[in-house]
């Protein structure tokens, strides 16, 4: 058996499990079943640990045993294609929610997504955001075409459950009693989606909810709409106050370090 065949066989068995193929067993000189199973077991444990590290609140919400089962099912269908194990598991939110989601599944899916985005913001690229005082340097003729892009850490998402409240509750509960953990409130759906922002001002990720009007305006801006155009669009909802409202939001976003002038 050549090297490529050996590696292909070994990897296929590690990813798919089951009985060790005869051809692979014959390639291993040690007591194949016993010793090879160390690698089989290590593969599952390593990826399960990676998921638990990435999704600590989801572990609490599910309970350790149920999370381990969830991870095992996820790992079977999702081999890692990442050089860093830290990048493994992005699809877990969709996997948790499933196709026919219950309220609890929807909450767990959003909880997972929230934790993933927090982690993504954590080590996103460092780029100095545009500051409020930078606006003073913008010439009058540049304002009509003034556009902004998100800083690399900025994540916008909506929730339709109390997932973020559940995350807060879990974090608080673990701080009070890491062993017992928190009491878990029931999953609840909301009538209107709640918009959220995640970003990293310095070294730690932060998040906040935002009013739907502000979220819609920010989404337009992040989609490439010039700021002047946005002001015009806001006239429908804000009338003469549109430029003032837009300026207030822009000042807030720049103060928070969310935007880059493009």
């Amino acid at each position: 058996m050549n090297l490529a065949r050996l590696q292909s066989l070994a990897q296929h068995h590690l990813l798919s499990g089951g009985d060790i193929p005869t051809e692979l067993a014959q390639a291993i000189a040690s007591p194949a079943g016993e010793r090879w199973s160390i690698y089989v077991e290590a593969y599952r444990l390593r990826l399960t640990d990676a998921l638990a590290t990435q999704y600590p609140a989801l572990v609490v919400r599910c309970g350790r045993a149920a999370f381990t089962e969830l991870a095992a099912a996820f790992i079977r269908g999702h081999p890692s294609n990442h050089r860093s194990i830290r990048d493994y598991g992005a699809e877990l939110a969709d996997f948790v929610r499933g196709d026919h989601a219950t309220a609890e599944q929807r909450l767990r899916g959003e909880l997972a997504r929230f934790e993933w985005l927090l982690a993504a913001a954590f080590d996103a690229a460092d780029i100095a955001a545009t500051r409020v005082e930078d606006l003073a340097a913008i010439a009058p003729h540049e304002w009509p075409t003034l556009c902004f892009a998100p800083v690399p850490s900025l994540q916008r998402f909506d929730t339709i459950t109390n997932a973020v409240a559940a995350w807060r509750e879990i974090r608080r509960g673990l701080e009070i009693d890491p062993v017992a953990g928190p009491a878990l409130e029931p999953a609840a759906s909301v009538i209107e989606p709640i918009p959220w922002l995640i970003w990293r001002p310095r070294w730690e990720s932060e998040f906040r909810s935002l009013p739907t009007g502000e979220a819609a305006a920010l989404d337009r801006l992040l989609a490439g709409t010039p700021f002047a155009t946005l002001c015009g669009e806001l006239a429908d909802s804000h009338g003469e106050q549109a430029p003032l409202q837009a300026a207030a939001w822009l000042k807030g976003w720049l103060t928070e370090g969310l935007l880059l002038r493009v």
Partner: protein
């Protein structure tokens, strides 16, 4: 009689772990250098790179990768090599190491250090890849021996013969993980001192010390426990044979407080001091 180490020793170092970042910067612990896991810093920015820069400003570092997959039959990941090279330009490591193993084929990563069969076919496959990596990085690659639980029926030489031949063919250097030698020796029934004695001394750039889980019939490399007496003894033997090689205490799981690791690192200093003095006398 010990040899003089062919490379200047960085002394006694620790693996850099995020839980210790602020303590390192605030406390200036008695650690001579740090080894960083390459993949942990192949990120856009944020806390990891900030602390890497700050710690690098005060200590020498070496980069230690886990995803090179030098033994894989999949093509070398050129994007990965470019990212490693860029990180090296940023933190100017004393050297760059990874493992003599494969970590996956195709697009997949098993996130494990899978052993190779020690065959002429594997040598002929790995040696040109090492040369390609050295060319891409513009520096000598340092390769670590991995712990293993299986041997392949096809192996036609020992692990140390395989390592020595790679050094001869490529000019690569070696990171000798003393714990891994011990773990594999227990699992496969060879003399760990024979392993060390057979290595080309001029090529040994670094030692690793670590702990493991002893299950009696076999040993699991966990890197989550203090160094055991048998590995300390083997370390002393390696010092006698190879001289004062840069030594790194590596803990990958169940990371204890920094002070605890510094105390264990002191033991490495004592073992080295005693061994080298005795050998010199």
């Amino acid at each position: 009689m010990p040899v003089a180490a062919p490379h200047p020793s960085l002394g006694f170092g620790l693996g850099l772990r995020p839980t210790h970042y602020t303590e390192i910067l605030d406390g200036r612990p008695a650690v001579d250098w740090f080894e960083v896991i390459t993949e942990n810093y192949l990120v856009g920015g944020g806390r990891p790179l900030h602390f890497l820069d700050a710690i690098r400003a005060r200590y020498p570092v070496a980069m230690h990768g886990v995803s090179l997959s030098i033994g894989s039959t999949a093509p070398l990941d050129r994007d990965y090599l470019a990212a490693v090279k860029a990180l090296a330009a940023r933190c100017e490591p004393a050297w760059i190491s990874d493992h003599l193993c494969w970590t996956g084929t195709g697009a997949h990563n098993l996130h494990d250090l899978m052993p190779l069969p020690y065959t002429e076919e594997a040598l002929a496959h790995v040696a040109p890849r090492i040369e390609a990596v050295q060319e891409a990085l513009g520096r000598t690659l340092v390769l670590e021996n991995v712990s293993s639980y299986i041997r392949y029926a096809a192996s036609a030489m020992t692990e140390w013969e395989f390592l020595g031949e790679l050094v001869r063919r490529t000019g690569c250097e070696l990171l000798l993980d003393i714990n891994n030698v011990y773990v594999s020796s227990r699992n496969h029934g060879f003399d760990p001192r024979a392993f060390i004695d057979a290595l080309p001394a001029h090529a040994v750039r670094q030692f690793h010390l670590a702990g493991h889980l002893d299950l009696g019939s076999h040993v699991i490399d966990t890197h989550d426990a203090p160094v055991c007496d048998a590995v300390w003894d083997l370390y002393a033997h390696a010092l006698e044979r190879l001289g004062p090689v840069s030594t790194l205490l590596e803990r990958d799981d169940r990371i204890p407080p920094l002070a605890e690791l510094v105390i264990e690192l002191e033991q490495a200093r004592r073992v080295a001091h005693t061994t080298l003095q005795r050998a010199a006398g």
